[in-house]
């Protein structure tokens, strides 16, 4: 019930936006090739279910791999640079630099280095998703109350025990902000990569499709703006669903933050 109430405002806003959009398109008779109406866009979804289904698998694989690699390596590196000031000094500037990699410039290079398939997409996702996870993990680990660390030291806790029982759980709220950003960036990175390195491949035995990002561009090129927008909405829905999954996990793991005083 409470959840439903929370969903109310964004849903009504969304509906209002769609209604306004539809009204503008209809009142001014804006043609489909400039801006399709929401109703036309939603009609395009059932018309292209197979395309959506196949390409969602492709794109989701890239997003999921990019995100998981970012998560694992981001957490690990965050922990490592927390414990090693030398590595921190060495790696931090590199991390900042990685944040500023001009993706448009390196995307074609990624194709030369990594080929055409899944790898360049995963690489782009990791390049941008990795950073917020490392930084937030590092900041989270640093944020721990020194008195709590002392308490564990007097309990003769090992470094590993301090990390596991104190630092990581204490850093969790920070880590989750990084992870949520990382997820959004994974989606962005994978889809961007599909737009700039992706394409379909035909052989005598069949065709491999290029993912949702590829089809947004393809549909735009051939004037199917209804399909392009349908793909964008679908993708937005997919990333919202993934985000919701992470938020649910966050709410579960950080449930102690929401309890009320008895």
């Amino acid at each position: 019930m409470k959840r439903l109430k929370q969903l109310g405002p964004p849903l009504s806003l969304l509906l209002a936006l769609f209604a306004g959009w539809e009204a503008i398109v209809r009142l001014w008779s804006i043609p489909d090739y400039l801006l399709p109406a929401p109703t036309a866009i939603f009609r395009a979804i059932p018309d292209h279910l197979e395309l959506l289904w196949l390409n969602t698998g492709i794109t989701f694989t890239a997003i999921a791999l990019g995100f998981l690699i970012s998560l694992v390596s981001g957490l690990a590196l965050g922990i490592v640079i927390f414990y090693s000031p030398t590595l921190e000094r060495a790696l931090y500037p590199l991390l900042i630099a990685s944040r500023n990699v001009p993706l448009f410039t390196i995307a074609p290079l990624l194709v030369v280095w990594l080929g055409f398939g899944l790898l360049p997409k995963v690489a782009v996702a990791v390049i941008i998703a990795f950073f917020p996870i490392v930084v937030n993990t590092y900041d989270g680990l640093r944020s721990v109350d020194a008195d709590l660390v002392n308490l564990l030291r007097t309990l003769l806790a090992s470094r590993w025990q301090i990390l596991r029982k104190l630092r990581l759980p204490a850093a969790l709220p920070f880590i989750f902000s990084g992870v949520k950003l990382g997820l959004v960036y994974s989606v962005l990175g994978a889809v961007f990569a599909e737009m700039v390195v992706g394409g379909q491949v035909w052989t005598a035995s069949g065709v491999a499709t290029g993912g949702l990002g590829y089809w947004i561009r393809n549909a735009t090129n051939f004037g199917h703006l209804d399909l392009a927008f349908a793909l964008i909405f679908w993708l937005a829905g997919l990333s919202l669903a993934l985000f919701g999954l992470v938020v649910s996990l966050e709410r579960y793991l950080l449930r102690w933050q929401r309890v009320e005083r008895t």
Binding site: D145, L148, L151, T154, L155, Q161, L166, W256, V259, E260
Partner: protein
Amino acid sequence: MRFQIEDLHKSFPQGATRLKVLEGLYLELAYGEFVALIGPSGCGKTTLLNILAGLVPPDAGTLWLDGQRVPSYQGHMAYMQQKDLLLPWRMVLDNAILGLEIQGIPKRQARTQARALLGRFGLAGFERAYPNQLSGGMRQRVALVRTLLLEKPIWLLDEPFGAIDAMTRSHLHRYLLQAWQEQETTILFVTHDIEEALVLADRVAVMTARPGRIKALFDIKLPRPRRVTDPQFVALKEELLELLQEERLEKKIYEAT
């Protein structure tokens, strides 16, 4: 066990010079003794406990444990501070067993032990609550349970009830004395509250202002439970108060020069 602190020194860098915090501190705690340590604020009480707990190394001085030199009392003591230091993501029961868990005792067994003790400290029914659902007094009781469960021969208590209102505090005193008698431990109890020291301790050690050392020791022979209206209690309180005020005055002169 007998704990002896011999000629302890500690200073901290302060700008170009060093701030002397402890200078030639001697103190002995007999087996099962409850010693309260009072002194003006900033006299190095917390530094002393941090050294004893092994969190900070002393500049010089020796700690003895039953006639053996030790670097600190780490492993033989339980340390409890004014802040309850509960982990907010652990429910009460799991906060209580933190120390046992670190010692490697299986969770199930630790929880059984903790449950019984929580019940005795009036926390039955709160085992599954999170710390931020509890009042300050309850949280401090959880911290006390966490300390007791360690079953260490010495407890270092640093103003554990400093942030608790007076009513709750006297309850907590009862809990503490009860636990002390049952476990037959030795307690070093730091406070800035003379009355609290007189209610609890066998002996009261008064520290000088910074740099800190022991200025005077008082044996409190009053039978427990002690009453603050007892004329003997009142007389002792006044004597201690005077000593402390003297210290505060001296400290001011010391700082002015």
